[in-house]
Symmetry: C4
Subunit: 239 residues, 4 copies
């Protein structure tokens, strides 16, 4: 660590360290679940109790994703000078992650991938209809399409926030681009990224062979409500 | 093990221990065969000689599936207090498994997954026609569709039992939900889960490119009969 | 080895041992290339210099495929009593392998799988057209369909032999059943099984999105001729 | 090394050794990314500072790809006599690689595969339209089709060079054959091979389910320009 490394209170430093470890490890889940190729895809996690988040460096191999290589950023998406990893550039999607953290205080994690079937729906600008119970559980309805926006300003972040604010879904398919997912923490956002590809693939194949049977709205509501409140080992099980 | 841990006769305890080990290990087969993502999917096994079965805890990672974390339940699906693993909640599908064990005494194992192609047929409510010899061997005819039913009461368990009772198939596709399979033991039910996804995928691709040739009923009958009686190393080889 | 174990001349015994090792190891290639699930699929190899071949036991897990578990058979498909592995039953497809060895003396290996895309073409009874150069290299033309035949007599073996005799292709898709491949040895037949699934999948996707461009017959002939004679490290490189 | 092994200046020898190691290792990326089966596919790399390149031997298993087995060739595609590996024949595609190195001095790496979806587009002779932002980033527009050409003379190499000269894309789909990719070095060409299969697959699925939304040319231009100049850790990050 360089001489100008920032000093944080011990509890904040511990939270930073935990977030670095989580974010580094969770990139492995993107690979294990077949969501990314080469250096594509990125996971970030908000540091609990601080206006900071941790994200992957740009264009770096998945084999090099050690906790100390992750990049600590402020909520404007600027790398904190002197912190471990700061000699590298953060992911080129950092501005979009930062926008989400600034405008959605309840969000603790953000994930972006170019997973095959989610991108296929995005290329058509077509939302994924909610026709299987696992999708009702997890997303509470269709997966919405976000606006077409390209890198370089706030438009991707704004499109994510506008689409997901007040929506049950933790996933948005940005048109012609791909999925962004949010969660209570980085692990929850990774789970959403895994599940959105799973439902994108399943519903693709389902529709390809004939008409699908709609799920009644009342059933969707009951499934979503139950899953948010009951499933797993405790109230925070979705994480 | 806590003080209020139940005491069983040595042979029953040995059967419980073997079932815990089998059920824990067989979840690995779901992963290895690409049938599940994240914490989805569950395997259970009846304890031979007792009114008990063993099932996976709810919402727990596939890396944490040690035998001692499996949950021992009575045939109402209630975790046995004090038994190893009982500090966790059993799978949210436990009620459906329990219903099957109560109403189909010949069943020794139950599996549920959201495997891609099986769910795709389920989303259309369309049974899988028997057009390949491997499917005649294993299932003796088409894979049937079960009713639409959602979690919260006996309706899933009842739908499974009503569809599979007297049917050759060990697999049912619950409409808009996914496959449940049964077997003489947990391994046999896992094999059925692997094979139902395999035939769901193969027949999907077959039909996608043009009409398939039906199998004569007489050939289906001969193949099914032979496979149940001859195949493998002994009469119980299907396990 | 039991007391009634057969005695062979040392060179034959050495050839048996090598064939056992090859056949055991090559089953791993079926798994690695995604051609089989559960215990499906089988590889056999003729013992050079003897009227014998080695095949996998029936219904046995891919984790148990050690050389000493492989079964030594005569050309009628009967396990040699007392030889290692003979306490088990040979693969239920042994009669078909034996028929091929009896009627095609140039064949040194046979493979059968239920690989997804090859079975999909078989379920439609549709030969795979030769529209990619890799397929011209390897098979010299279309992959033919064999007759519908079910297990229990010589009809599968006869269908394979009648379809492949005098044909360039080392693979046949038995209608409603799946691919059988032959080769100069077991490895060559496994390569054909890998390649037939590869071309079945590629041509499936190619045609799904629009008309494919036919390959001129003259180009197919030149590619096949060159590949049989030049490719690889020596005249027997295809093995 | 044999007595007639060539002698190079130490810096050239070091560059040869590094290129051998890179080319050997990068073949593993073809396997890891599911681009090749059996012995198919080949990677080559130009030796910086010399009229030499390194390529894989013909028909050799991916398990045998040690650096010393790679073959050193001059720019006519002739193996350098006496160099390590020269007892084997170079890949049957060596002439095409050599042609590219002779005619495109800026190219430092060439890759050829038969990856499924890229070959599927090639079999229809249909370029892949640029409808997703990741494709604009990486290729700057559609992936073009090259002419039908078969092995045996310069026609494959000439087709690659004529199609890619002055084109933004580093990938060409040779009609009825498959993808060839180029790059500033072997790693860059492998990345292009991975990405071309990724976009071939994604756009296949996207179009299969309905019309895709075109990307505005202005957006493609901005994305391509930014990615070439900004992305990654430095100006040469694309490598």
């Amino acid at each position: 660590m360089s001489d100008d490394a920032p000093r944080y209170a011990p509890d904040i430093q511990a939270a930073i360290d935990r977030t670095r470890a989580d974010v580094a490890r969770l990139h492995g889940e993107l690979v294990r679940n077949g969501l990314v190729v080469w250096t594509g895809g990125n996971v970030s996690g908000r540091v609990p109790g601080a206006d900071l988040f941790v994200i992957k460096p740009s264009g770096v191999s998945y084999d090099d994703l050690a906790p100390e290589n992750m990049i600590l950023c402020d909520l404007d998406g600027t790398a904190i000078p002197g912190a471990p990893g700061s000699e590298r550039s953060p992911s080129s999607d950092t501005a979009a992650h930062a926008y989400v953290y600034r405008h959605m205080p309840e969000v603790g994690g953000v994930v972006h991938t170019h997973s095959t079937f989610a991108v296929a729906w995005a290329a058509r600008g077509e939302e994924i209809p909610c026709v299987i119970t696992a999708m009702a559980d997890e997303f509470g309805g269709p997966i919405p399409i976000g606006p077409f926006a390209i890198i370089g300003d706030d438009s991707i972040g704004r499109g994510i926030v506008e689409t997901l604010s007040g929506h049950r879904s933790r996933a948005v398919l940005m048109q012609n681009h791909g999925p962004f997912t949010i969660g209570v923490d980085a692990k929850d956002a990774v789970k959403a990224a895994v599940m959105v590809e799973d439902v994108a693939r399943t519903v693709h194949y389902a529709r390809e062979a004939g008409p699908v049977i709609p799920l009644p709205q009342e059933a969707i509501d009951r499934l979503f409500d139950r899953y948010q409140n009951v499933y797993g080992q405790s109230a925070d099980a979705r994480r």
